[in-house]
């Protein structure tokens, strides 16, 4: 009986190809969209994770200004600031640390010859390129000595190099940062966009002390980036740093910190929550189109039942029971659902692979989303086919036979 039903369903589908195709299109698009959206969302999540960890793993960032209990930063203008000495003290006194990198940053107008450009100028210690996983393409990084002597030297990213020095190598040339002349001694290799869409090559590194004293006129630093030796030490290092800074800043027990420490694991978690909810949103939108596809099936099945009233009458007159007719129409709507779902699954996977390649995200094909959406399309065939099938199965044989 089931075999007959499946055979009949395929014959029925083939006898009205265009209509079958249009009905299926709803399911194809729905399932395809769910799979494409979920896998793109997961790809995005993966990319964000990759990018954040490419900033360097095991990182702690100490910033001037405390945080209230709910995480808001208290204005950092209260007088208490991080100093270069704080950074040196951390490096000296806290165990389990690989790098300590204090920093200041401001956006400045850059000029070289008749070219000009606006970019983020970051005053950093020389170890910053290791911490942020940059590599030198040309020239070299500045040295500790150049930092102590507050030399006007800088290392620039690819974007800056292209815009200020369109022809020839920038190394050895001079550029003006906020009107002060700096010698370019190195160019970084390209790192591309960050997960937040920032161009990581649009950057200028200058020695920390040069930036503080000759460029920005600061006596304090904005933040200190700390890289721990390994992940397990992060919590220990974080509490040691807090204790040390409280002591150095002479904060009384019970008073709030005048600085805040964030670790990268936290940042990754926040970013993942964000991308996770974007994925969910995309999946919901796609699922709605799947639902619309299901309603399309119901619509066509209702038309089909009406059109075939006489056929149903004949079948019933020849001995088909309620269940025979119910099965026939259910199988038909399920065949539409399954065929559409499978096609949608294949298309969705292809689309998500291509899209991921084009955008440059990792390809993540979610087996779970695939299984769920295909099962769902079977379920939709069943659910939206049930009402029309019941309607058909309940037809009175005589009335169905009289139907013109």
């Amino acid at each position: 009986m089931l075999r007959e039903c499946i055979k009949m369903a395929f014959e029925g589908m083939l006898s009205n190809k265009l209509r079958t195709f249009l009905t299926m299109l709803g399911i194809i698009i729905g399932v395809g969209a769910v799979i494409a959206m979920v896998s793109l969302g997961l790809g995005m999540q993966e990319k964000v994770k990759e990018n954040i960890s490419s900033m360097g793993s095991n990182l702690l960032i100490v910033m001037s200004g405390g945080r209230t209990a709910n995480g808001q930063r208290i204005a950092s203008g209260s007088g208490a600031h991080l100093t270069y000495d704080d950074a040196k003290a951390i490096e000296k006194n806290v165990d389990g640390i690989k790098y300590v990198s204090p920093g200041v940053q401001t956006s400045y107008q850059l000029v070289a010859g008749n070219q000009n450009w606006n970019s983020s100028v970051q005053g950093m210690t020389p170890n910053i390129i290791d911490i942020r996983n940059y590599t030198i393409a040309e020239g070299r990084m500045y040295t500790e000595k150049e930092m102590t002597s507050r030399d006007r030297v800088c290392v620039i990213g690819q974007t800056v190099a292209e815009n200020l020095f369109p022809e020839g190598s920038p190394v050895g040339k001079t550029m003006r940062i906020n009107k002060a002349p700096f010698r370019v001694i190195g160019v970084l290799n390209s790192k591309g966009q960050s997960s937040m869409g920032q161009d990581q090559d649009d950057i200028v590194f200058v020695p920390l002390t040069t930036a503080m004293q000759r460029l920005m006129g600061l006596t304090y630093i904005r933040n200190i980036t700390i890289q721990c030796e390994n992940e397990k030490l992060i919590d220990q290092v974080q509490s040691d740093v807090v204790a040390l800074l409280r002591q150095r800043h002479k904060i009384k027990t019970g008073d709030d910190d005048d600085f805040s420490v964030r670790n990268l694991a936290e940042i990754i978690k926040t970013a993942q929550e964000t991308t996770g909810s974007i994925t969910l949103l995309l999946a919901i939108v796609a699922a709605i189109s799947l639902l619309v596809g299901g309603i399309g099936i119901m619509n066509i099945m209702l038309v089909s039942v009406t059109e075939r009233t006489r056929e149903i009458g004949i079948r019933k007159a020849l001995g088909a029971t309620y269940h025979d007719i119910l099965l026939q129409f259910l199988v038909e709507s399920m065949v539409i659902g399954v065929t559409g779902g499978t096609t949608g699954m294949i298309l969705g996977t292809i689309v998500s692979v291509i899209a991921a390649k084009v955008i440059g995200w990792p390809v993540v094909v979610s087996i779970l989303a695939t299984i769920i959406s295909v099962l769902f399309s079977v379920g939709i065939g069943l659910f939206f086919g049930l009402y029309p099938a019941k309607k058909a199965a309940l037809l009175d044989p005589i009335e169905a036979l009289r139907y013109e």
Binding site: R3, I314, K316, L318, G319, A320, P397, L401
Partner: protein, 227 residues
Amino acid sequence: MNVIELKDIVKSYAMGDSTVMALNHLTVSFEKGKFTSIVGPSGSGKSTLMNVLGCLDRPTSGQYILEGKDIAQYSDDELAHTRNARIGFVFQSFNLLSKLTAVENVALPLVYAGVGLKERTERAEQALKDVGLGARLYHKPNEMSGGQRQRVAIARALINDPAIIMADEPTGNLDTKSTLEIIDIFEKLNKMGKTVIMVTHEPELADMTQRIITIRDGQLIKDERRD
């Protein structure tokens, strides 16, 4: 012995305020192995009677005993099973499925009887050969003449070897030649022992049967037996 006994059968349709009595307290029985014809003017209730007899429709009231069993107690599924196994119904308008071949049409009752594909096809081919359509086994209905289509319908009615053949104006849409071929088949079936009940408008055809029942306004007005 009676295969069918109808007692005080009423079939009424509500038409707005009034009710139409398509069958008006009809009592009649049919003996096993007889070829009976039912005649009467248009609208007299012949088709209504056939539908009740063929278990396609339930009477409003009255008792229908088929092969000793009261049909009124039957569920819809049991009625479907009875139509499938005990009764072969032939319609005036053939009622074949246009997308299926002759063999598939004939085999349809066997699908619902749970017979496998191979046996179904063999039996359908044999049934078509028996009604003289051995050369048209895999034609679709629209590739056949009216007489051929009605023979396919008869083959379908016979496929599950029912005890009773019912035909509602089986020759109403056919020319004289085809009509005689169809009646010939019914007579042969009757000789093989099947009970045949046929509605007809043509007195010559009724004359060829063993019993003529005349109906008017849903009531039996004449019951003529001849041997």
